[in-house]
Subunit: 320 residues, 2 copies
């Protein structure tokens, strides 16, 4: 009775809302889309972002706009997500745009630049500094409408089998690294490798690669790197922030009702902020011992962690 | 023709979406709500947030869910927004919860705590650290469903007519300050005053108060403080971050269709991130000289800025 009296007492707004609600369901257009992610299912951060986003879209449309999410490799290989959206094989993709710097280095600006901005700066640049307009114009040539969805914030320098004491130790090291950072390290003799997140562990375990960086403690522990590489370095100066993006096929976007466009875009922004927060709360506050990321292996590696910048940073800055 | 061929070529999803779209408009329930803000209309950040949020809600519902925004003092005084929502005078409010620490100091946790978390930590705590659950349970007693909407990030220490060289200089200074920070400074002899944003300038100009903190350069310049107070101090250690919140009358929230609940909540989160970014891009990058915040008065005050922490921080830390 309390609710009813509140409504009656207020006398403002919400005219017949509760009664009219079921009618929405009958008339909203049914839209079923597929999203190809570049990320492995084990990561509730990067892969999970797309599923959380899909749920928010469903909630806002009474389940009429449904997005089904597929992990890297399920529909298309992790690094073919861009092509798949461009060609309308899927309506949606979720990826890190620096995977595609081989097509055009401009993709890095939608993701991360070594020694570049931090997460807040990137986000501010995209939202209020003209970045979005520039990236939208660029993606148009790929038949894509891009919406930022996720930022890992500053990343770690990765897991190394052998300790790095001098710059010479880097020579010939096969290092899994994303984006333009590999080109920087290449000047120091590192053999940069681009490998999808889900394929890094076996490569590191078998010795196909000697070292690998992914994101940070929360994700890295899930992928198990601490089991096969003892040295965990920081910071990942090549990823002071890393932005992930949702790709929407431009033709499909144009045909979507404007309300669904607004809901989809809003859900992506909602998820943008969620990824980094999920990593922060778990990596930095460790609410429960053992839950994150201080499993014994990781803990030991942390204790041995060296300041990557001290060994590498200055040299790398000078090679530009 | 390009679009059409894409759709035809893809053959996936979006069945009849474009044709069915107009039908949504006819069946969505019409909801008209009012939002009372605690902030003055001149601020596109804090006041503007509610208007941007309202636009997003309208866009996602084909204008069927309309929210009309009123500045502090228009419907109810700036500091009575909480009561107005609690009593269903308005369905929505937008405020900084530390304005209400007089009712209960717990309100500060929904906003800011001196020497407390930074923006990312507060946001992570709310979203993934259990903060939201605690605050929702607390607000329930006020008949309110709270949704965070906005964070200023770290604030400045405010504008002072007289230079502060020693802690003794603080004695008797009438200082406009929000929340619990005033209680800290009170121990040092400051006479803390709580004044709504829109009323600070005249109070400072007339000499009713001797100093005032609001947020940071972007907002502070709009409110004109640099014209009447020469010394701008930093940092505002009492506001390492400051979260703003949307208040929804709990009875109205319960009657809202679930789709509208999801859309409203999503729009608030969208706007949460926008406020701080708007401040960052303008305050830190200064895309156009003279536009922000380096008007001559501000520039001069910046040049004279002292490190507030050096004078005050340690003492304040020791008085707890």
């Amino acid at each position: 009775m309390r609710r009813r009296s509140l409504i009656a007492g207020g006398g403002v707004g919400l005219v017949g809302a509760a009664l009219a609600a079921p009618a929405i369901a009958q008339s909203q257009p049914e839209v079923k889309w597929r999203l190809a992610s570049s990320f492995p299912k084990s990561l509730d951060t990067l892969y999970g972002a797309a599923e959380y986003m899909a749920k928010r879209v469903a909630d806002a449309t009474d389940n009429k706009f449904q997005i089904r999410v597929f992990a890297g490799g399920e529909i298309v290989p992790a690094f073919q997500v861009l092509d798949a959206v461009q060609n309308n094989t899927v309506e949606l993709g979720h990826s890190a745009s620096y995977y595609f710097v081989g097509k055009d280095p401009t993709f890095a600006f939608d993701c991360t630049i070594p020694f570049g901005m931090n997460a807040r700066q990137q986000n501010a640049w995209m939202t209020h500094g003209g970045g979005m307009e520039l990236m939208r114009a660029f993606f148009k040539d790929y038949n894509i409408y891009n919406i930022p969805m996720g930022n890992t914030a500053a990343q770690m320098g990765g897991w190394w089998r052998k300790e790095i004491k001098t710059v010479d130790d880097l020579k010939g090291v096969k290092f899994r690294i994303g984006g333009l950072g590999g080109a920087v390290l290449g000047k120091l003799g590192v053999v940069a490798q681009q490998i999808p997140g889900g394929d890094i562990y076996p490569a590191l375990e078998k010795g196909t690669i000697d070292a690998a960086e992914w994101v940070g403690p929360y994700d890295d522990e899930k992928l198990g790197f601490y089991k096969v590489a003892k040295f965990y370095y920081y910071p990942g100066w090549w990823e002071g922030q890393t932005q992930a993006s949702t790709y929407v096929n431009l033709g499909q976007w144009g045909q979507l009702p404007k309300t669904y466009q607004a809901i989809l875009e809003g859900a992506c922004v909602h998820q943008y902020i969620d990824i980094a927060l999920r990593m922060i709360i778990t990596a930095r506050y460790r609410p429960k011992e053992g839950r994150v990321p201080h499993a014994s292996g990781t803990k030991g590696a942390f204790a041995r962690a060296q300041n990557f910048k001290r060994v590498l940073g200055i040299h790398a800055l000078n090679i530009a």
